[in-house]
């Protein structure tokens, strides 16, 4: 009887330790997510929720096949890059990943502006721009959820 009681006490202690460690990890994770979401709110809220969608709408293709109206979106990409400098010091992997996605989009838009786009090319270019914007959102959302 005493042995069973001792075993149960030990098991109970081990479970308590495991739950305690797990709770601490969860708390730390939630804390990191909370900090990240505060920073994201301050650094990017208007850029992500308003500027990118509004400025994406300004990009069109003219009757002679030229991609136009990208200046404001390019400026928004630069604003995101400059607002991200905090992460250059705190999470350089995220900073570099984000910078790559932003510059990939900027490069694609500028290179496309020198092309004459007709027929399916127009759809392809506009879809590519949307996909590359989605890539930027994805990198940022992942970072925010990861903390």
């Amino acid at each position: 009887m005493q042995v069973i009681s001792l075993v149960l006490s030990v098991v109970s202690l081990i479970v308590s330790i495991i739950v305690g460690v797990y709770d601490k990890k969860v708390d730390k994770k939630l804390n990191n997510i909370s900090i990240a979401s505060t920073y994201f709110n301050d650094l990017y809220k208007d850029l992500l929720l308003n500027k990118i969608p509004q400025n994406r709408k300004k990009i069109t293709i003219t009757a002679n096949g030229k991609l136009v109206g990208s200046d404001d979106l390019i400026q928004t990409l630069k604003d995101i890059r400059s607002n991200s400098l905090y992460f250059f010091y705190t999470d350089v992997t995220f900073y570099n990943n984000l910078k790559t996605k932003l510059q990939d989009l900027e490069n694609y838009i500028l290179a496309s502006e020198d092309e004459e786009l007709f027929g399916e090319e127009q759809t392809t270019v506009l879809n590519q721009i949307s996909d590359k914007i989605a890539d930027v959102y994805k990198v940022m959302t992942e970072k925010c959820l990861k903390g």
Binding site: I74, K78, Q103, N107
Partner: protein
């Protein structure tokens, strides 16, 4: 004493109005600037042709990488002068150098 200067005029295909991509920035620098630049000069003028209206940040970073490693960020403003008819191109090159 006279300032030592040199003047490098960049040449691009006439259809090119936008400059993009880091490797292309490096390529233009290696082919057109590196053979002609002397970092001991007081001022180097780098002239972009009139048709160039925009340069992507990655192009600028590729183009200036070797210059920065030779003279540093601070000296660029004193020793490298960008010439272009397009004021927005000049200012965007400056901004893109910082980030």
């Amino acid at each position: 004493m006279m300032n030592k200067t040199n003047h490098i005029k960049l040449v691009f295909d006439k259809a090119t109005t936008r400059l993009a991509y880091y490797p292309y920035g490096k390529e233009v620098y290696e082919q057109q600037v590196k053979p002609n630049i002397d970092f001991s000069n007081d001022i180097t003028y780098i002239e972009f042709p009139d048709q160039i209206v925009k340069a992507a940040s990655s192009f600028v970073q590729g183009f200036f990488e070797d210059i920065i490693s030779n003279i540093g960020y601070e000296a660029i403003e004193k020793k490298i002068v960008i010439l272009s008819k397009n004021e927005s191109l000049k200012s965007s090159i400056k901004t893109n150098l910082i980030f």
